[in-house]
Point group: C2
Chain length 331, copies 2
């Protein structure tokens, strides 16, 4: 059995989700030949290091009681540079302005020959080419299913399951908050402001909802697909973006009368990367409600294949990270 030594850099909701999932699936991983040992966990206040393999259950419980994972003062970058390991799991908070510490962590991991699996979309929405190139030069593997659509496995669906198909276009709903607000506006014949307030109360929208409702979060995810699937060299600033703040209940009712719903649709194909509200017919695979994410992939052989799943949630995101880990190390 192959021993894989991993670090978890960032130990918020997603990082802790990864630890829980690795604990829960340790036997399964061994059954398929992967002995995965986490040798370092770093959060913003400290670190835990054990080159023999950290007790993940103890680490999770320390994080809960002490608010930090361990007493060690080493940073993520220092761990990546100085401690020998195979895989860096990057789950620090995202920064879409500069790429933040996540970008530095990923580049350092590649410089040191470590594989990278991440849920952190900021660095990929800004510097995808640079990261892909660094991974190529170092011969390391770079996987990022969790950056787009949480537990909706769109990237691995295309690269693994639809292998052999040319991808003509991708259309989808990549932001659960917007989908929730639009679905509820229609259900309740209510205004954008009313349903935003409801989403905020339920924790589905942030106090400052700008990134979600103006389509910026969706644009970040879309640009990752544009770069990874279509080989483009774009950043999220290259995306034509219209958000949902101007949509009225009247327009939703008009759409409904014609047999349509209005959804915030992300669209990428040759020469086009766009996020904008669009009419979708009832019964169409993209017409899913609630906080769901969905993506339709138009291919040359398989026709159009559509995948729907939960776009957020720490365990769901950790599941995407787990599937990336398995696809790298399963023999």
């Amino acid at each position: 059995m192959e021993t894989i030594r991993a670090s978890i850099i960032g130990f918020g909701a997603v990082g802790q989700g990864v630890a829980k999932v690795l604990l829960q699936k340790a036997n399964y991983l061994k059954d398929i030949g992967i002995d995965l040992r986490v040798i370092a966990i770093v959060d913003s206040k400290g670190a835990d290091i054990d080159t023999e393999g950290i007790d993940l259950s103890a680490a999770l419980s320390r994080k809960r009681t002490d608010g930090r994972v361990g007493p060690n003062n080493i940073t993520g970058l220092e761990v990546i540079r100085t401690i020998d390991h195979d895989l860096m799991i990057e789950t620090t908070p995202t920064n879409i302005e500069t790429g933040g510490v996540g970008l530095e962590n990923m580049l350092a991991a590649f410089e040191n020959g470590r594989d990278v699996v991440t849920s952190n979309k900021g660095p990929l929405a800004l510097k995808y080419r640079e990261l892909a190139e660094a991974s190529r030069i170092s011969g390391s593997t770079f996987r990022f299913e969790a950056t787009v659509g949480g537990a909706m496995p769109i990237i691995n669906l295309i690269t693994d399951v639809l292998a052999g198909n040319n991808i003509i276009s991708i259309e989808g709903i990549l932001n659960g908050t917007c989908n929730y607000i639009l679905t509820r506006m229609m259900d309740e014949r209510a205004s954008y402001e009313q349903m935003l307030a409801e989403a905020q109360e339920l924790g589905i929208a942030e106090t400052d909802p700008t990134y979600d409702v103006e389509g910026i979060d969706a644009a970040c995810k879309l640009v990752i697909l544009a770069n990874a699937i279509f080989g483009m060299d774009a950043t999220y600033k290259d995306v034509e973006v219209t958000g949902i703040t101007k949509i009225t209940p009247e327009s939703l009712i008009l759409a409904e009368d014609g047999g349509y719903v209005i959804k915030l649709i992300c669209e990428v194909k040759k020469d086009l990367i766009r996020v904008a509200p669009k009419l979708v017919p009832n019964g169409h695979p993209l017409a899913v409600g609630g906080t769901l994410n969905v993506a339709s992939v138009q291919t040359d052989l398989a026709g159009t294949v559509t995948i729907t799943g939960r776009g957020a949630g720490s365990i769901e995101t950790a599941s995407a990270i787990l599937s990336d880990i398995i696809s790298i190390y399963r023999k």
Copy 2:
């Protein structure tokens, strides 16, 4: 580059689709390290053999003009038993009463150490355990994505992309003919008989529609999922089946008034394998119309993931066969 020598046994619409797809994607396959040569093609009237690799374009054109692929009188079974090759692509017409020649072909392929990729659901709906066991004993690979849902990649989605997840249940629409008839009954406020006649005119339903409308075709596909994903040892006769012939336009209108559609839903989980009409809420991922197929997979980590695609079509089915071939031989 690895040379893979393959036979295509059965050269109807799907077998010809496979030849077209292999022609179209030959360079792509070489790029990923697979030099696939078809050394035998067999149809019900003859065979073409060339151990150096058949010219697929010439074989397709012979089939079109002569109605048979070649003058050779060797049968599929003889090819499988006597000509050295790695992979048998089984695309003969399905037989769900006995498994037919497809069952014999697959068992013979395993006896001779050949991998099997197939779109032929009859043998798997009747004798899944026997086939899986024969494959295990011979050390050959057995893949059958194309048997369920055509180009909707449900099996590889679960086994590859959702690896690490426990599968709790699968629910879906696995028969495009029934979905078409139910969708059109609702659209037109028309009777089952009227919309069946329309589907028959369009070639979406067979002259004898029994297998489709009574739910038997769906039950065959469901039982393949039950066996392959849940490790059951069932045949399609173990499935509780209710078809769509008793559904009235009145019940569809009542459902619509309540915000629902009626769909023929296949369902498998521990202790249950059932095909029956069910109410599905509008906006739910299973509420897709037309001839589409759809499957929702409930998992322990990723939540519910739903995949939608074309359930039929020779190129779509060949695409599923291609993805199985790639997943076996890609390094």
